[in-house]
């Protein structure tokens, strides 16, 4: 739907890896101190899967299950997960302790710029405690609602989490969301209060919040400063003490969960797996429970954090597996792998990625189409959760309609497109997948089902052929300081949200739960929330299915002629404001013509908004001697060429630029 929107600003929100949270990697051969070279190399920014520092294969069989701990770090954005991960890596000697270790595991340019982790990486840590060698497998996972599915999959391979909370900010929306994910997965939760070194830190207050909201006794909280390294050792001990080893059976047939998959152009798809049962090694024939295809294993190994090939991987361990798969869709997150001829009960919870937000993506000029096409292909090779459909717009030419898991997913994708592939695109305003329940027998036959999903506004079936329209809704959680509660509630009401719950998490902060239509969120809701709460409110949401909605199709008319490119689907209540906004944008971007232009937004035959563009008085008053004639003819020729490219609506010439200005997402400052 072409609603003019501001881009929802998820900046600074941690992004769960959308390709999958890391699995716990396999274990290294027990050695007193891991090699310095491995540490040094992990500081270089090559891709995790380079084989730059291959050693001989390691033997993991010696390592007993009791001494393995698989855990993850979860938190609200910027509360310090990645810094804590850095410290843990240093403490265990996995990487050298120098000043340069800053978010070592964030390798993508976009990650480092936005301060978020996009593609989570795993690291296996060695730790000596009371004379015993432990292998701790850590995942640096930022949590973002867009990717909660991936987070939940990777959590299912952990037995515990470190729940990090900023001592100053306290519990935020994502802290809550992530807690519930871990809780539902029945993991041990170790609360860690970070940034105690800061002036405004108030650990006691945060302890009380944790007790109240999560029902975890305050004496379980470990207070640290990840930045300074204070008390971080205590965290490692807690991991060993409080997180149980995995409950697995080496003797059972092989069963593994796929967490993540990456495409390497030389080696094919590298799947990150966690073994629940059995053993796997090179030469084994394995089957994907989802696709039922069989593969032969070429290589297995662990991540430290770079690849370390191994002879075998054993139950309870986490690592990578290469088996001749050519496409990441062959190794989907949540899939189960088993040995050929020894099928197992697939691990629960597998589902295909469901897009929440769609955007049209077009090259700035059609000549760039092929470039953009290959850039999109390359980016989606490693992100199987982006859905891609070819699409074409009258105004913008041939392009795609891409489906993302959320706004941040979309923004980061776009940023990576620009930074890594140098592609500049026109991104049209995000739309959501509406549904319609058809009543017309003819249409039902045509679409072959009664309930259809409408992605492109042009497909919107008429009211007479429809029993009801449906729009996707989400359950949103907002945590805000008390003084902004009123404003926040007003904002939610303005976005057609219905309050579901309201609770005080401590004296000063309120948690509100609202049911929102998704399309009200994709339109700069987050920005508005942040700005009316001076940045203090936090927001998170989860899919909550569909609800009936009074949707209408809104046309834009220029001097009475409809502009197909600008058709929008909008809720009846919002038709006026959306229509007005589009008319205003058009008024500013339409070049004046020799006559007046009436811009109207209409629903059915009713005009709901209108703007006018005044007629233009053109200048021909220039000298016209010989040289000028030549110049003038050239100019006229160029104008005529230009006019050919103009879309003519009635007798109004509309340059592509005008469409772009109306259709694209409005840039933030």
């Amino acid at each position: 739907m072409w609603t003019p929107v501001g881009r929802g600003r998820w900046h600074g929100r941690a992004l769960t890896v959308w390709a999958a949270a890391a699995a716990h990697r396999g274990l290294l051969e027990p050695r007193p101190t891991p090699t310095r070279e491995a540490a040094a190399k992990s500081r270089t920014l090559d891709r995790l899967y380079s084989s730059a520092d291959r050693k001989e294969k390691i033997d993991l069989s010696r390592f007993s299950v009791e001494n393995i701990r698989n855990f993850s770090i979860i938190a609200h954005v910027d509360h310090g997960k990645s810094t804590l991960a850095d410290r843990l890596l240093e403490l265990t000697g996995t990487i050298d302790k120098t000043k340069n270790n800053k978010q070592v595991l964030d390798k993508l340019q976009v990650e480092r710029e936005r301060g978020i982790t996009v593609k989570a990486q795993t690291a296996s840590l060695f730790y000596n405690c009371e004379g015993k060698q432990y292998l701790l497998n850590l995942i640096d996972t930022p949590g973002h609602v867009d990717f909660s599915y991936e987070v939940s999959r990777s959590l299912s391979a952990c037995q515990g989490v470190l729940l990090v909370v900023d001592a100053n900010e306290g519990i935020q929306a994502q802290t809550v969301a992530n807690f519930f994910l871990a809780f539902e997965a029945q993991l041990s939760i170790i609360p860690v209060i970070n940034k105690v070194d800061l002036k405004n830190a108030d650990p006691e207050r945060v302890e009380k919040q944790i007790e109240k909201v999560f029902d975890i006794p305050s004496d379980e909280c470990i207070k640290i400063s990840a930045k300074l390294g204070t008390n971080v050792e205590r965290v490692l001990q807690a991991v060993i003490e409080r997180i149980p080893p995995p409950k697995v059976h080496r003797k059972n047939p092989f069963k593994a969960l796929v967490f993540d998959s990456t495409f390497d152009q030389y080696r094919g798809v590298i799947a990150n797996v966690a073994l629940f049962d059995g053993v796997v090694s090179k030469g084994d024939k394995i089957v994907s429970a989802h696709t039922k295809k069989t593969y032969e294993v070429n290589e297995v190994g662990v991540l430290n954090p770079n690849e370390q090939p191994a002879h075998k991987l054993y139950a309870g361990q986490v690592g990578y597996l290469i088996a001749g798969m050519k496409d990441v869709t062959e190794a989907q997150i949540g899939d189960t792998l088993y040995l050929h001829k020894q099928p197992v009960e697939p691990l629960p919870g597998f589902k295909s990625a469901k897009p929440m937000v769609f955007a049209g993506m077009y090259p700035i000029d059609q000549s760039e189409y092929n470039n953009l096409k290959s850039a999109v292909e390359k980016l989606t090779i490693n992100d199987s959760s982006v859905t891609v459909h070819r699409d074409s717009s009258l105004a913008l030419g041939a392009g795609w309609r891409l489906g993302f898991l959320g706004l941040l997913h979309m923004e980061v994708f776009n940023q990576r497109l620009e930074q890594e592939y140098n592609a500049s695109v026109i991104l049209t305003t995000p739309t959501v997948p509406y549904k319609a329940v058809l009543s017309s027998a003819k249409l039902i036959k045509e679409y072959r089902e009664k309930e259809i999903t409408i992605i492109n506004p042009a497909q919107f079936p008429d009211k007479s052929k429809v029993t009801e329209y449906l729009e996707p809704v989400v359950l949103g959680t907002i945590i805000t300081p008390d003084e902004y509660t009123g404003k926040v509630m007003m904002l939610c009401q303005a976005r057609r949200a219905v309050q579901k719950n309201m609770m005080y998490i401590d004296q000063n902060r309120v948690m509100l739960k609202y049911l929102f239509p998704l399309n009200e969120i994709v339109v700069d809701f987050y920005d508005s929330l942040k700005s009316l709460s001076s940045g203090y409110a936090s927001f998170d949401y989860e899919d909550a299915g569909y609800q009936t909605a009074e949707l209408v199709k809104m046309d834009i008319l220029l001097n009475g002629n409809p502009v197909e490119e600008l058709v929008t689907i909008v809720h009846k209540d919002k038709a006026h404001s959306v229509g007005k906004a589009i008319c205003e944008r058009l008024k500013d971007s339409l070049p004046r013509q020799l006559f007046e232009i009436a811009i109207q937004a209409a629903v059915g035959s009713k005009i709901i908004a209108r703007e006018t563009v005044k007629a233009y008085r053109k200048n021909v008053l220039a000298k016209c001697y010989g040289g000028d004639i030549t110049r003038k003819m050239k100019l006229l020729k160029r104008q005529a060429e230009g006019k050919k490219k103009l879309r003519k609506i009635g007798n109004i010439e509309v340059p592509k630029d005008a469409f772009i200005k109306v259709l694209k997402t409005q840039c933030d400052k």
């Binding site: 200048n619 016209c624 001697y625 040289g627 007798n651």
Partner: protein, 298 residues
């Protein structure tokens, strides 16, 4: 410039092809502080019409435009020119300058009407890249000219000139007592003309060389190079492009539409004997729309 080259040119032209006695010989002149004797000398050399680049009667505006004369100089030159070439003097006036308002500009026109001859050209300022004015406007040290105000000036200027008995025979040109500019009229009627000098353009069919196809010719732009080429090759023509039939007709159309009489059927027939205006334009959808809107007559 001095009168003797002008005289030499005229003599050379007359030698090559006899110049009718009533030919228009126009000199473009910038007003100077001491017009008198120089103008007379040009007259003696054969000039019989003068086009004065007055541009403005406001000294501040003249400075803005980078002119070296003052309003007083301009009016003096005008008066002297009228004395020497009565009924044969044209003045240029610009409109749409940065920060210019309608009222004051009309005042300039009024003053001018009080002392001008029978021909006035009105030009809207066009900012050319590379000029100081362009840079000023770009930087913001000068406001961009307001097209609405310029349009108002033009409309009201036209009315004023009409009141004063001038015929607007072309978009920018006004004449009374039949004092049209003959050479300019040639352009708008798509007549043939030779351009001689650095950067000069020409439109003619080189019949002497046996061709009947009109050519568009351009002479070398830089004066030094032009002179060298003339001395070496006997001419300074840099480029000759035959004008296709369609291109010629396009020029006929573009130029003709600038005049008040437009393109008559007879005029059109001279260039396109086989297809009438109705044949060519009658079926066009755009033309029909323009006709309905009263913006075109066919």
């Amino acid at each position: 410039a001095s009168p003797s080259p002008v005289a030499a040119v005229l003599e050379a032209v007359d030698r090559a092809a006899p110049l009718p006695a009533d030919s228009e010989v126009t000199l473009e002149a910038n007003p100077t502080s001491a017009p008198g004797s120089r103008l007379a000398a040009f007259g003696a050399a054969g000039v019989n019409r003068l086009s004065i680049g007055l541009q403005s009667l406001d000294d501040t505006e003249l400075q803005l435009l980078g002119r070296t004369h003052s309003a007083r100089d301009a009016l003096q030159t005008l008066a002297e020119a009228r004395r020497l070439f009565p009924g044969r003097v044209s003045v240029d006036l610009m409109l749409g300058l940065p920060a210019q308002q309608v009222g004051p500009w009309l005042g300039q026109l009024r003053t001018l009407l009080g002392c001008c001859d029978d021909h006035i050209s009105l030009y809207q300022l066009s900012l050319e890249r590379g000029t100081a004015l362009f840079t000023h406007v770009q930087r913001g040290t000068l406001p961009a000219p307001d097209p609405e105000l310029a349009a108002a000036m033009y409309q009201e200027g036209r009315a004023m000139l009409w009141e004063a008995g001038f015929r607007q025979y072309e978009v920018s040109n006004f004449a009374r007592n039949g004092a049209l500019s003959t050479h300019n009229w040639t352009y708008w009627q798509c007549g043939q003309y030779l351009g001689v000098g650095p950067g000069a353009h020409g439109r003619f069919a080189p019949q002497g060389a046996g061709s009947h196809t009109r050519e568009a010719r351009i002479q070398t732009l830089e004066p030094d190079n032009w002179m060298k080429e003339v001395m070496r090759f006997g001419h300074g023509t840099r480029r000759r492009v035959p004008l296709g039939r369609l291109e010629l007709l396009e020029e006929v159309l573009a130029m003709g539409l600038r005049t008040d009489v437009g393109i008559t059927h007879q005029h059109w027939q001279q260039f396109e004997p086989e297809l009438s205006l109705w044949d060519v334009f009658g079926a066009s959808q755009e033309v029909k729309v323009l006709l309905v809107q009263g913006l075109l007559l066919l």
